[in-house]
Amino acid sequence: MSETISNVTVTITVNGRQRDVTCEPRKLLSDVIREELVLTGTHVGCEHGACGACTVLVDGAAVRSCLLFAAQMDGAEITTVEGIANPDGSLSDVQEAMRDNHGLQCGFCTPGFVITLTAFLRDHTDPTDDEIREAISGNLCRCTGYHGIVNAARQVCGRANGGES
C-alpha cells in the first residue's frame, strides 16, 4: 500500500490537561500515550489484549489502551497512572496499599493493576476476595504471585490486610 494516508487530529483530555494529538490512524492509544504524550507509566506487554499492562481509564472505564486507536478518542477523557495520585502529589489509597502490601516487585505490571483496582474499588466498596481475584484476573503479574495485590485491595476496603496465604 503505497497510497498516502492522511493523519488524524484528536483533542483529548489526559490527566486533566487538554491535548491535541496528530497521528496516523493506525496508531494505538497506548503508543500515543507513551510516544506522543511521553507518559511512559502506561506499559505495553503483549499488545493484543492479553496482559492488562496498558490499562487506562477512558471516560472513567478501565480499558486496554492497546486495543484502541487514538483516532477514536476525540473528546475522550483519559486517566493514566500518572493521573492517579492525589492532587497534592501524595499516593492514592490504591497506590499506598500496593506499597504497604508488597503488591509489586519489578513494577512492570503495576500501572495496569493500579488502574484496574482504582476503577474496580470505585464501583465495589465491599468486594469479597473472590470478586477481587476476578477483577484482577485480566492483569498478569510475573513476580508477586498476586497475594500482595489482593491484600492491597482488601486494605483499600478497610479490611485487615494479610490473613491470606
Binding site: 500500500m1 496516523e24 493484543h48 486496554r64 477514536q72 485480566g138
Partner: protein, 287 residues
C-alpha cells in the same frame, strides 16, 4: 506488532456507515469494540484499507423491551448489558453468559453485536442467540432485513451478513416466569475463551417442560443447538435422566483437535457441561 495502514472513517449514521462499506467494497471493515479486531490487526492476521468505526453512529446502542422481546442495540457494551436490569430479568441467559467473556476491561469496550458478528466458535453470545431463537437485525444498501439466528452462523468467523451490511440489533424473546437458565463452561484459566461450554434454558408447567433450549459452543465451527436433546427433555419432563439427555446432546458432535484440547475430550466435556447447566436451569425454574 502494529497494525498496517488504513483510512479511518467515523460515520454518524447507519446510512453513512453502509455507504462507506459499499464504496470501499472488500477493502473495508467495521470496527465496534475492537476487542477481537484490533488484536487480529496488530498480529497482522488481518489487514484492511478502510476501517469504518461504528462508535460514533447514532442509535446503535441501547436496551429496550417491547412486545415480548428485548432488543439490544449492536453497539451496546457487553458491560452495560451485563449490569442492565431488563436483561437480568427478561433475558437471564444473556446476563449469565456475559461475565464469562474475557475480563471486565474487555467487556467495558466489547459490544454485544460485535461478539455475535465476529462469530468465534468458542464465544458465548452466539450460542445464546442460537439457543434463544434470537432475531438479528441488519442494515445494508437495500435497507433493513431480519435474520433468524438459526440462519446466521455459517462457519468460523463467518456469518450471513454481507460485506456491506451492519448488524444493528439483536432481539431476544422473553420466556415465561417459571423459567430457569444456566451457563456452564470449561476454560483453562478464568477469562480465557472456553474449551467447551453450554447454555441451557427450561420453562416449566408443574413438572412438565414446555420449552427447552440447549446450545453448545467450542464444539465445532459454529455454535450448535441440540434440538433432539431438547425434544427428549420436553418428552421426559423435569424428572428426566439429565445425564442421558446430555449424552444425546453430545453424541452427534464431532469436534476437531486443536492445541487446547482433543476433539474426544471436547465431546466428553460437552456432555458434562450440558448436564450441569440443565440441572441448574431446572433448579432455578422450580424456585
Amino acid at each position: 506488532m502494529k497494525p498496517s495502514k488504513f483510512h479511518y472513517h467515523a460515520p454518524a449514521t447507519i446510512g453513512d456507515a453502509v455507504g462507506l462499506l459499499g464504496a470501499h467494497a472488500d477493502e473495508a471493515k467495521v470496527l465496534a469494540g475492537g476487542q477481537s479486531l484490533v488484536p487480529m490487526m496488530s498480529l497482522r492476521l488481518a489487514t484492511f484499507g478502510h476501517l469504518v468505526d461504528l462508535n460514533k453512529v447514532d442509535g446503535l446502542a441501547g436496551i429496550e423491551r417491547s412486545n415480548g422481546h428485548v432488543r439490544i442495540g449492536a453497539l451496546t457494551r457487553q458491560a452495560t448489558a451485563e449490569h442492565d436490569t431488563t436483561v437480568a430479568s427478561d433475558v437471564p441467559m444473556m446476563a449469565k453468559a456475559l461475565p464469562h467473556i474475557g475480563h471486565f476491561q474487555i467487556r467495558n469496550r466489547g459490544t454485544v453485536g460485535g461478539s455475535i458478528a465476529h462469530a468465534d466458535p468458542a464465544s458465548e453470545l452466539p450460542a445464546v442467540a442460537l439457543a434463544l431463537d434470537a432475531t438479528l437485525e441488519a442494515a445494508g444498501p437495500g435497507g433493513e432485513r431480519q435474520i433468524a439466528a438459526a440462519d446466521f452462523f455459517e462457519g468460523t468467523w463467518q456469518t450471513a451478513l454481507a460485506e456491506d451490511e451492519i448488524l444493528t440489533a439483536v432481539r431476544f424473546p422473553v420466556w415465561g416466569a417459571a423459567s430457569g437458565f444456566a451457563v456452564e463452561e470449561v476454560a483453562r484459566r478464568h477469562g480465557d475463551f472456553a474449551i467447551c461450554g453450554a447454555v441451557c434454558g427450561v420453562e416449566l408447567d408443574g413438572d412438565a417442560i414446555v420449552r427447552a433450549a440447549i446450545g453448545l459452543f467450542g464444539v465445532g465451527p459454529t455454535p450448535v443447538r441440540s434440538t433432539l436433546a431438547e425434544q427428549a427433555l420436553i418428552a421426559g419432563g423435569a424428572g428426566s435422566d439429565l445425564a442421558d439427555i446430555a449424552r444425546q446432546a453430545a453424541d452427534p458432535l464431532d469436534p476437531s483437535d486443536d492445541i487446547h484440547a482433543s476433539g474426544a475430550y471436547r465431546k466428553q466435556i460437552a456432555a458434562v457441561v450440558v448436564r450441569r447447566a440443565l440441572t441448574k436451569a431446572i433448579e432455578e425454574a422450580r424456585s
